[in-house]
């Protein structure tokens, strides 16, 4: 199919771009931004599968990042386990939690589902703060060792960039594969009409839980990356605010599109960086201008461009191509 070949070319081009980018952008500050974008993109990739393809909603996704991240931190710092094994363990724990919470939650629909995920996210964040024995409370866990790959310490922005974006690349390929597979068609069917999908013989419950767990797994990896990047884990980045940020990224980037997460994460992260100095001008104590900006973006996107940037662009090019063929 022509569409598949375009995707292959695009993925190859993306890979080249990723390898070239750090050679062009050399200042550590900008490289660190790229690392953060990568971590966000990884988390949004999971959310995109859930929201964009399967049509479900998660307003508490930061919880999964937190579980993965804290598992990494606790196992590495308090028990001296190899960081890579700790990351895998974190993913496993997150998957189990996602499965346990997913089965009853995904039976709900529409706003009930949204609310349940919201409640779940808040409860998990409260546990992060209150269970001081396990998580270190508000101060969190510090002193995470750096990751080492084949003896080389991943301590520079460049090396972490490669690790993080390597994961994003794999996630993008996985999303593309899912999109063109039977599972992808099933998810899209569920997204348009769950009843119709069930009538066609699709086991909607099982697919929904599976995509939920997969999205949680990706979030767990992103959370571990974040925790290792900052060398400490604390509850603040894993709360309601970040869950909503992820949703904004997913909505802006584009639902049901392989490139949505990267575009959304990139746009929102860059916007946050740009708004920081502007915020200082408005209020010297540091007004968080990005907060109302995100709210405004969310509202305007959903009114005018509900499918997000990448999907709308894709639809537009399709329509133009069709018009050219007809005209």
């Amino acid at each position: 199919m022509a569409r598949k070949r375009t995707t292959h070319i695009a993925l190859a081009g993306f890979g080249v771009l990723l390898l070239v980018a750090p050679l062009v952008v050399r200042q550590p500050y900008y490289q660190s931004i790229m690392v953060v974008i990568g971590i966000n993109a990884l988390a949004v990739a999971g959310l995109n599968l859930l929201m964009g393809y399967a049509g479900q909603v998660s307003l508490g996704h930061a919880a999964f990042l937190g579980i993965g991240g804290y598992a990494s931190a606790i196992l590495t710092v308090n028990h001296g386990i190899n960081p890579w094994l700790a990351i895998l363990a974190g993913v496993a724990v997150t998957c189990v939690v996602a499965w346990i919470i997913g089965v009853p939650t995904l039976r709900l629909h529409g706003h009930y589902l949204a609310i349940a995920t919201l409640g779940f996210g808040i409860i998990v964040n409260i546990v992060f703060v209150e269970w001081r024995g396990l998580t270190g409370g508000q101060s969190g866990i510090a002193g995470l060792p750096e990751l080492r790959l084949a003896g080389i310490a991943l301590d520079s922005h460049l090396r972490l960039y490669l690790l993080v974006w390597g994961c994003v690349y794999l996630a993008t390929i996985a999303t593309a594969n899912i999109q063109h597979s039977r599972a992808g068609r099933a998810l899209r069917a569920i997204s348009s009409s769950e009843i119709a999908a069930q009538t066609a013989g699709i086991n909607t419950g099982r697919y929904k839980v599976q995509v939920f767990v997969l999205s949680a797994a990706l979030a767990a990896v992103a959370g571990s990356m974040r925790v290792h990047y900052m060398s400490f884990a604390n509850p603040e980045p894993f709360g309601f605010a970040y869950s909503i940020e992820l949703v904004v990224m997913a909505v802006l980037g584009g639902s049901g599109n392989v490139w949505g997460p990267v575009v959304g994460a990139g746009a929102i992260t860059l916007l946050t960086e740009v708004l920081q100095p502007l915020g200082k001008m408005v209020r010297p104590s540091g007004a968080e201008l990005h907060v109302p900006a995100f709210g405004l973006i969310l509202v305007l996107m959903l009114i005018f461009l509900p499918r997000g940037v990448t999907t709308s662009l894709a639809l537009l090019t399709q329509r133009l191509r069709g018009a050219r063929r007809a005209g």
């Binding site: 307003l59 529409g110 706003h111 949204a114 409640g119 007004a287 968080e288 109302p292 709210g295 969310l298």
Partner: protein, 293 residues
């Protein structure tokens, strides 16, 4: 403090906080009945009511009896603006989209409040100044608690009268019971939607003004209050006004006892654990689903 006075303390605190949750829950219920939408910006109505009241009282220097209705009117205006600018343009979009839009609106409002009022907590003086009241050894906070309970009662009675006597109130009930039928008798559902947002805004503002002297007034006060009020509404049964009130009071009491006897840190989790429990076991809540009132 002896256990009996601790229990008494928890009861009073729980009733006070629960009344606030009840008013906020009523705000959710009114909008839900008219539109099927869960308005996540409800908490920000609460916050704005309190903040505007603070500004009117302390900066502009208005007396309480003037600042109060103005602040409530401001809440209604914000609600109406939300409906016109963010909800109305959505037209046929899905309920889920509308919900996320309200989330976007809520963070927008919170961000604007942070820029306008800064990060520090503001102090709102209580309605009447006098010493704390004691019953036995239980310290009932301040007379403000009595104001909270009293005003909540007035609000509840007022709403009951509104729904059963006022034309607009009856029209809103009609839309909630049967939208198409209401249209057939000449009621404009879209206008009812508008009024329900305005009414919810006013109620939210009232709740904020009541609670701010007891806790604090700050740009972030709305988030948790809104979410807990929402949990109360679901607990009582989304769509049922009586459920909202009962849910709010019970939630307030449960939270207060959990804070007093279990752990004050995990107190906040109570509302959300109840929320999840209700959603998983009986999503329609205690007093059942939509039925007009």
């Amino acid at each position: 403090m002896s256990t009996s006075s601790q229990i008494l303390q928890c009861i009073f605190t729980g009733l006070t906080v629960g009344s606030i949750y009840a008013i906020i829950a009523l705000g959710f219920t009114i909008i839900y009945n008219a539109t099927d939408i869960v308005n996540f910006a409800q908490g920000e109505f609460v916050m704005l009511g309190a903040m505007i009241m603070v500004t009117l009282q302390t900066v502009v220097g208005l007396p309480v009896w003037l600042a109060l209705p103005l602040s409530i009117a401001a809440g209604a205006i914000v609600g109406a603006l939300l409906e016109r600018l963010a909800i109305r343009p959505l037209r046929q979009a899905s309920i889920l989209t509308a919900i996320i839009v309200t989330i976007g609106a809520s963070i927008f409002l919170r961000g604007v409040a942070m820029i306008a009022w800064g990060r520090d907590a503001k102090v709102l003086p209580p309605f009447t100044k006098s010493g704390a009241l004691f019953v036995g050894q239980a310290y009932i906070m301040m007379p403000q608690s009595l104001w909270v309970l009293g005003v909540t009662l007035v609000v509840v009675v007022g709403l009951m009268a509104f729904y059963s006597r006022a034309l607009v109130g009856k029209a809103m009930r009609a839309v909630a019971i049967n939208r198409y039928g209401a249209q057939l008798v000449g009621i404009s559902p879209s206008r009812m939607v508008f009024w329900s947002f305005a009414l919810s805004g006013a109620l939210g503002a009232m709740a904020g003004i009541l609670i701010a002297p007891i806790t604090f007034a700050g740009y972030s006060m709305g988030t948790m209050l809104g979410l807990k009020g929402f949990a109360a509404a679901i607990f009582g049964g989304l769509g049922s006004s009586a459920g909202a009130i009962v849910g709010g009071i019970i939630l307030g009491l449960l939270e207060s006892f959990a804070g007093g006897f279990v752990s004050s840190g995990y107190k906040d989790a109570v509302a959300f654990l109840i929320l999840l429990a209700v959603l998983f076991i009986k999503p329609t809540g205690m007093l059942g689903g939509k039925a007009g009132r």
